[in-house]
Chain length 331, copies 2
Amino acid sequence: MPEVKTAAIIGGGVIGGGWSARLLENGIDLRVYDPAPDAQAKLDAVCANAEQAFAALSQIRCAERGSVSWQQTAAAAASGADLIIESVPERLDIKRAVYTEIETAAAADAIITSSTSGIMPTELQAEMKHPERLMVAHPFNPVYLLPLVELVAGEKTDVKYIEWGKRFFAGIGMHPLHCRVEIEGFLSDRLQEALWREALWLLHDKVATAEEIDTAIAYGPGLRWAQMGTMQTFHLAGGEGGMRAMLAMFGPCLKWPWTKLMDVPELSDEFVDEVGEQCEQQAGGLSPRDLERVRDSNLIAILQALRGNNWGAGKTLANYEQQLMQATSDG
Amino acid sequence: MPEVKTAAIIGGGVIGGGWSARLLENGIDLRVYDPAPDAQAKLDAVCANAEQAFAALSQIRCAERGSVSWQQTAAAAASGADLIIESVPERLDIKRAVYTEIETAAAADAIITSSTSGIMPTELQAEMKHPERLMVAHPFNPVYLLPLVELVAGEKTDVKYIEWGKRFFAGIGMHPLHCRVEIEGFLSDRLQEALWREALWLLHDKVATAEEIDTAIAYGPGLRWAQMGTMQTFHLAGGEGGMRAMLAMFGPCLKWPWTKLMDVPELSDEFVDEVGEQCEQQAGGLSPRDLERVRDSNLIAILQALRGNNWGAGKTLANYEQQLMQATSDG
């Protein structure tokens, strides 16, 4: 499998842009394709944000940033790339058409990853000529700061690519999580969606505003989830008896009507409007772009805090810095 | 309404113990009732942890810690208390019996709060002589570090207690969230339970282990939730278009089978065993007590990081310190 010197970025939106920033910071050259007229300006803005974020996160940096070459087609971007990262809209037909085009131009040993949030790789690879080299590598926004990347193989994926992915993504400062069972939504988005559905119901039924719903997370459970997931957190809710005591105490509550289990609110124009308006109010005059800078600054502070304690995502950061220092002293 | 000089703690488990620690650190004297034989030793351990945690969190401290007086009955604890905090097991019959006993001894103007995770206050107060002074004040573990407290009125609660609660709990360093609509599970636990249900299914169906499920949160979405809830986070998933663009892109996915919506896994002995064992393995030899210290140390680091940015729970901490400094310079 190739060492990645050049990567193709197919789709330069929030996720493709985030990938670009992380790869560039790690010295990888990019061939980018995105048909949107303002794609280049947007990507430049994301990369500028990310460069500042990386500088604030750590004093240890990769020696030389990568370069960007814009291409007119997905095939042209894929040509000559060691790794091809697809981040186009979440529609199976669009993604399959992109793979067909990519395969006309990609090198025989190029690896193709999809950033899909939850479409099964077996579905994605069904019409490919060389399906064995496609896998899901699902990152999280902002891709240049959050370490998690879910690796998922389809039925036809060669498992050697999963092993390769574990090494490669760890090498660019990420925390690869191999989702061993192929399931729609994988792990992280299933958990996120459960929360998200309930949040939409609460807003829809006028139980609470967007801001109140977020307060209920960010001032309580969210502070725990930055360091421990829901299982380990609840392992500590049972006192010295751990999870077993917790299940004995709170298990029965799971059967009480504490969530809107059965359905999804209708995303009518009116409801979308209501949600959108509340989120804009909540932002208190900050544009999404402004708010991104606040979020990044908070993420950096949290990651540094966790690194100080050598825990969770802070450990990932510490390991990454150690690798960079090693590479510098070797080179 | 009384200034709180003395509070009664009815039930000294994980939550009652956490309340005790926070109140003592704020100079409030306690009258504690818990029938468990080892209750006093446990409470002392929690308070010792909390004292260290407070010292590490902030150099600004309340001048004089409160004192603890152990009582033999709930009535004796309630007698002479300005505020009575009930944190007994999540069973309506047990809680109602406790209120009946408390009311035989409580001062006429004493306020009674329940720490219930989700039982509706209208249910709790149904058999009380003076139901107007009962409300829910639902905190989060560890109560001495997490700022969130949900305030919920029942049908018979006098709203003046909600206003009082907003002031009082802010005064002891918390972030009161008034849940305006009475609903089972309130806000935070509805959101937590949605996640928790999905996590249990993933483990139950052997899609992932406890550790993998937690990795899917703590290395990605959890780092966002420490500072922004799910609404504001997704407001930033749509790029410059914010939440409206996000809903246009990902709204349809909500209808895909990305969560186990319909049911709850059966908590059989075998399943409880499996969950318990995985959580113990995940802890890697750390007892729940050890792990609590790690968690507290991480929470302190995260809260300080957010205070450095004057954001979210960090703002709560900064406000609290300002109040303490003000009080010191006044006194």
